[in-house]
């Protein structure tokens, strides 16, 4: 971290605090800063960040805090000129998770939102393309990455397992012998 970066970052962080007082800086790892923000001013911050250099939305990740009954969405932005990365994380309720789409700010978000909808079931209002399935073909159960989805049970139900007689040690034939 060159000192010129420090001064730029410091100046920027001060501006950020000034404009969005309730954006709490949760973690600062030098070139990467994580902010926790409220869902309602997500769009303002994103627009502000885009103008001040964060052109790339690297990804949107979802986290399922089942104990607190909340979903966390982390927007990962990267600024090529200064080499700074900003992560904005918002928390939304788990029962009817709805977020406004950000495709009007970052067009690339369309497929991220679609994936998150497929794996978490979070609905993105305004991006009807997100309702379609993306990777999983013919998926017929709960969105798989939610904590309340039991992957092992699904696997046992759907894909037949191989059962062995619980006899250990070298036996006559190999567990599988065709004829």
């Amino acid at each position: 971290m060159t000192n010129s970066m420090n001064s730029v970052k410091a100046r920027w962080a001060a501006q950020m605090r000034g404009m969005f007082p309730d954006a709490r800086l949760k973690k600062d790892r030098g070139t990467e800063m994580t902010y926790e923000i409220l869902p309602r001013d997500l769009h303002q911050i994103l627009a502000y960040l885009k103008n001040s250099g964060w052109r790339q939305l690297s990804m949107i990740t979802g986290v399922d805090w089942i104990e607190e009954g909340q979903f966390e969405l982390v927007y990962n932005l990267f600024d090529w000129e200064q080499g700074l990365r900003v992560l904005l994380s918002i928390r939304i309720g788990r029962d009817k998770p709805q977020v406004l789409t950000i495709t009007n700010i970052y067009a690339g978000a369309q497929y991220y939102e679609r994936e998150i909808h497929e794996f978490f079931g979070i609905e993105f209002i305004g991006n009807e393309d997100a309702l379609k399935s993306l990777f999983l073909e013919r998926w017929d159960a709960l969105p798989p990455l939610r904590k309340d989805f039991d992957s092992r049970a699904y696997s046992d139900k759907k894909y037949v397992k191989r059962f062995y007689d619980p006899v250990y040690g070298p036996q006559g034939g190999a567990p599988f012998e065709r004829s």
């Binding site: 379609k132 399935s133 990777f135 999983l136 073909e137 013919r138 017929d140 159960a141 798989p144 989805f149 992957s151 092992r152 699904y154 696997s155 759907k158 894909y159 037949v160 397992k161 191989r162 059962f163 007689d165 619980p166 599988f176 065709r178 004829s179």
Partner: protein
């Protein structure tokens, strides 16, 4: 805890194979067909062309087998580009849901006699992914597997010995997975549909 008796379809059925059944196309007296089959099996065993289809992580072992230290070409094996030309379908590693559809489609494009060689435990019982929602736990329900090669990423020596085992199987006429697929076609198809839902996918990306 008493072993729960599962429905019969979970146990590997020992299907009774007639000893040597003359191939349908050449109806001729028994010995001539038998000797011809013997010769044909010799050629099939010693010139095995494998399809370059790397499904899982065990595929990284194949370059070692092909290159100078282990050199599978000594056994007459060559990598081929398309299923039409290949004899062996290598299922290297886990077979996920979507990969299985492509595997089935490719397997059906291969010319008979064809063999399936499965690498690592993932094809046997799902391996480390046994509880994953997208990985299959028993490959031989969907495709007739002729040879399993143990080892979570089997070493090249294991792969070479596996191939030599396959050559023995073919020469002795025991590698008849493809005949089994043809005979119990409906059974395989039922299993496939049960696991995968629809082999030939029609969706936004495959119009």
């Amino acid at each position: 805890m008493p072993k729960k008796q599962l429905p019969s379809r979970f146990y590997p059925v020992k299907h009774e194979m007639q000893t040597v059944e003359a191939p349908a196309e050449k109806i001729s007296p028994q010995q001539r067909a038998e000797t011809w089959e013997k010769i044909a099996q010799y050629f099939r065993a010693n010139s095995l062309w494998m399809l370059n289809y790397c499904t899982g992580c065990c595929a990284i072992e194949l370059p070692l087998v092909m290159t100078s230290r282990f050199d599978m070409e000594r056994l007459g094996m060559m990598p081929m580009a398309t299923p039409r030309q290949a004899d062996i379908l290598l299922v290297t590693g886990y077979a996920s849901l979507k990969t299985l559809r492509r595997l089935i489609y490719t397997y059906e494009q291969m010319g008979t006699p064809k063999y399936v060689v499965a690498f690592g435990p993932c094809a046997v019982n799902g391996g480390i992914y046994h509880d994953a929602y997208a990985v299959l736990n028993r490959l031989d329900l969907y495709l007739p597997v002729d040879l399993y090669i143990a080892g979570c990423m089997p070493k090249p020596e294991a792969v070479m010995s596996g191939f030599m085992k396959l050559i023995e199987l073919i020469e002795s006429g025991k590698a008849t997975g493809w005949k089994d697929y043809e005979q119990r076609y409906e059974w395989y198809k039922k299993n496939q549909l049960e696991a995968v839902g629809e082999v030939f996918i029609h969706d936004e990306f495959h119009e």
